[in-house]
């Protein structure tokens, strides 16, 4: 799309970022006579080097350099536990920098130009305007495979109630969470500023007695998603480094693999036994982690089949992960996530 490179004339002279001239960030030669000469030495994505933005936005840039969006260390941390020490070294050298790290978000990836995904991109946001937020063109491009489409209902299910009420990503995921708080986290679950349902929905403030009782009875045993996820969400069934991946809708309830206590929504993750085979990594400790992870499904509804009737879980055991439902040739750790719903005392 040529429009991806088109600058809005009206911004020149009004947007302070553009006042210093294009070469101040992009290098190249704006006085050259030919296109080739002009683009010689040009930097396509200046904010890949955080120092570019740090010249003015010092504190945010310093924090951002340690944030998960920039380090993408969460992706590494999520998989290296399946590997031996030697394999981790191989992973870092052959896979992490070339593959995972190529997905890191730069400042411009959210504020200037939507990141291209698999060669497809929409280019500059609003003609090179430096926008504060435009989730549909930024968050959605990287998180559009699962979360964003679930949230908007584009994946086929029901849209998240928060989306229907007009809330977008940044309304819950604060700028402090996006930019980082200066701490180097290994996983998104460690981030202190990540959103939680209870930040807005306080326990004991429910208007209906049934809701209040239900929340009290399930507190600490079932996650909010466990009951309020509206239905099927995207599950990636396999993922190879260079060949293909498949996805299909699904909904599973089981124990959170993190603490094995809370019943929650589980999502099939893409890593399979031979995911890194082409990189020469067998994953010697593959069975150390399950193939299902607790997922904050972004298709929240106030009323779902599980909030309407206790029987859906406690009698029918609907959508609970069972031995029969587990993926074939999966991790041995999968079985530890299976839980049987407790019968009701009537």
């Amino acid at each position: 799309m040529y429009r991806g490179y088109l600058i809005d004339k009206g911004l020149i002279g009004t947007d302070s970022h553009l006042k210093a001239g294009c070469p101040s960030c992009h290098r190249g030669d704006d006085r050259a006579a030919t296109r080739e000469e002009a683009h010689k030495g040009m930097v396509k994505r200046p904010s890949d080097n955080i120092a570019t933005c740090a010249a003015c936005h010092k504190q945010i840039s310093a924090n951002y350099a340690k944030s998960l969006h920039y380090t993408t260390i969460g992706q590494r941390n999520g998989v290296i536990k399946r590997m031996s020490a030697e394999e981790v070294k191989q992973f870092d050298a052959k896979v992490f920098e070339q593959s995972c790290r190529s997905c890191h978000a730069s400042c411009g990836g959210c504020h200037v130009k939507a990141p291209p995904v698999a060669g497809i991109g929409i280019g500059l946001i609003k003609g090179h305007k430096f926008v504060k937020r435009d989730e549909g063109k930024t968050c959605a491009f990287c998180h559009g495979g699962r979360v964003y489409t679930e949230y908007t209902g584009e994946y086929g299910g029901r849209a998240d109630v928060h989306y229907q009420k007009g809330k977008m990503c940044v309304d819950c995921h604060s700028k402090e969470e996006m930019h980082g708080d200066g701490n180097l986290y290994l996983s998104k679950n460690d981030v202190k500023t990540r959103p939680a349902c209870r930040n807005c929905h306080k326990l004991g403030k429910e208007t209906k007695l049934t809701a209040r009782l239900s929340h009290r009875n399930h507190q600490g045993k079932v996650s909010c998603y466990g009951c309020h996820s509206a239905g099927e969400y995207r599950n990636c069934s396999d993922c190879h480094v260079e060949t293909h991946s498949h996805a299909k809708p699904g909904f599973s309830l089981g124990l959170s693999p993190r603490e094995k206590k809370t019943l929650t929504t589980l999502r099939l993750i893409p890593t399979i036994r031979d995911t890194f085979k082409s990189a020469g990594i067998k994953m010697e400790r593959y069975d150390a982690l399950p193939n299902y992870w607790d997922t904050p499904a972004h298709n929240i509804r106030k009323r779902t089949a599980r909030t309407r009737s206790c029987d859906v879980c406690h009698v029918e055991g609907k959508d609970f992960l069972t031995k029969e439902k587990l993926i074939k040739n999966g991790s041995k750790a999968n079985e530890k996530l299976i839980v049987k719903p407790k019968p009701l005392n009537r």
């Binding site: 799309m1 490179y5 600058i7 002279g13 006042k19 698999a118």
Partner: protein, 73 residues
């Protein structure tokens, strides 16, 4: 020699100087109005002249070759 002064107590020479300054300032203002400070950059920048021209960019653009299966998952 007695210098003539107006009602505000200013000399004739002072008034002439002030008038000249006014004319100069108004001229400067008019020049800046026509050629704003940012315009020298806009006019001189080769980047801007091409990247604000949709017809030119359209003629130069080559769509990327996307591998089969890219974007899935």
């Amino acid at each position: 020699m007695v210098r003539r002064r107006n009602a505000y107590g200013c000399s004739r020479e002072w008034c002439v100087m002030t008038k000249k300054s006014c004319v100069f300032l108004w001229s400067l203002f008019a020049v800046l109005l026509v050629f704003p400070l940012s315009s020298p950059f806009a006019a001189a920048s080769g980047c801007v002249s091409c990247h604000t021209n949709p017809e030119l960019l359209k003629s130069l653009y080559k769509p990327p070759v996307i591998a089969a299966g890219a974007g899935e998952g």
